[in-house]
């Protein structure tokens, strides 16, 4: 039974705890959870960072939408529905922090065919607005042949 005495009450959202990252001001994460420097601006600053630190694979959040848009371009002719992710790597030339402004360029590196499957290697070069290297990612994507 919902408590009717709540009718007429109001609650304000707590103010953001800064950092510019997606999450802030959380209690220490449990074992196996994200590192505290990824979630808590105070912990990040205590560790010597200007702001929250991105986890190692965070770049997927801005590279994957670009990759998807490329793969769904009908002109390229990729069979998105039968795609599997073959392998993935990321090289971080420096850590990524909350508030960073980053530019991503996709390079179509290699396309080969094997036993009816197509193997596509896409490289994403992530830089800051001045062009300094931040990260390089490589994705091998495979469309499986019709069975």
């Amino acid at each position: 039974m919902p408590d009717a005495s709540y009718v007429g009450t109001a609650r304000a959202r707590p103010p953001p705890t800064g950092g510019g990252g997606p999450r802030g001001g959380r209690p220490p994460p449990p074992r196996g959870g994200p590192a505290s420097v990824c979630l808590d601006p105070a912990a990040a600053q205590a560790a010597g960072h200007a702001d929250l630190v991105a986890p190692p694979t965070f770049s997927v959040t801005f590279t994957m939408p670009l990759i998807e848009a490329f793969l769904r371009d009908p002109a390229f002719g990729w069979d998105y529905s039968r795609m599997v992710h073959g392998d993935q790597s990321v090289t971080l030339h420096r850590p990524i922090h909350a508030g960073d402004e980053l530019v991503t360029t996709i390079h179509v590196e290699e396309l080969t065919a094997r036993a009816g499957s197509h193997l596509l290697t896409l490289r994403c070069e992530v830089t800051d607005p001045d062009g300094a290297a931040v990260a390089t990612t490589r994705s091998l994507l495979v469309t499986q042949g019709e069975s």
Partner: protein
């Protein structure tokens, strides 16, 4: 723009040697995690949320995003370093799918890791990720900058 950041985690890692084992980690992935990861990553491929589509393309059922498995396996390393800024590179092959059932228990991924090389202050960690008793990642290696 970022100011310069420490590339080194806290103390204790400086004595890392080849052959050292990392503390193991066991993580669970549920359908709810897949929904969250789809939103976070922008990967809305229906094989990660629709049994109909997943089985239609020959999969045993809905599978975890490869990138989610990779990210979770990376926790083994960041749990060890304490700070993900120490990770210089990380790469995996996706060799088997992690099938995530539509229940509240999810799929369990068991992680272990071993230092295979220490050269010029950079340690290589070979990661083993198992689901259902079988490895799901191949050539999973992270390079970590050690404190000098």
């Amino acid at each position: 723009m970022s100011s310069p950041s420490p590339r080194h985690p806290g103390s204790g890692l400086g004595s890392t040697r080849t052959g050292d084992e990392l503390a193991t980690l066991s993580l669970r992935v549920t359908r709810a995690d897949l929904v969250r990861y789809a939103g976070a990553s922008g990967d809305f491929n229906p094989i990660h949320w629709s049994d109909r589509v997943a089985t239609g393309v020959g999969l045993p059922g809905v599978i975890a995003h490869g990138m989610l498995t990779m990210a979770l396996a990376g926790r083994l390393v960041t749990q060890w370093t304490g700070d993900p800024a120490a990770v210089r590179s990380y790469g995996v092959r996706f060799t088997r799918p992690v099938v995530v059932p539509d229940d509240d228990i999810g799929a369990e991924i068991e992680l272990s890791g071993r230092i295979t090389d220490v050269t010029d202050g950079v340690a290589k960690v070979a990661i083993t990720a198992r689901f259902d008793g079988k490895t799901v990642l191949g050539r999973a290696v992270a390079e970590v900058a050690l404190p000098s």
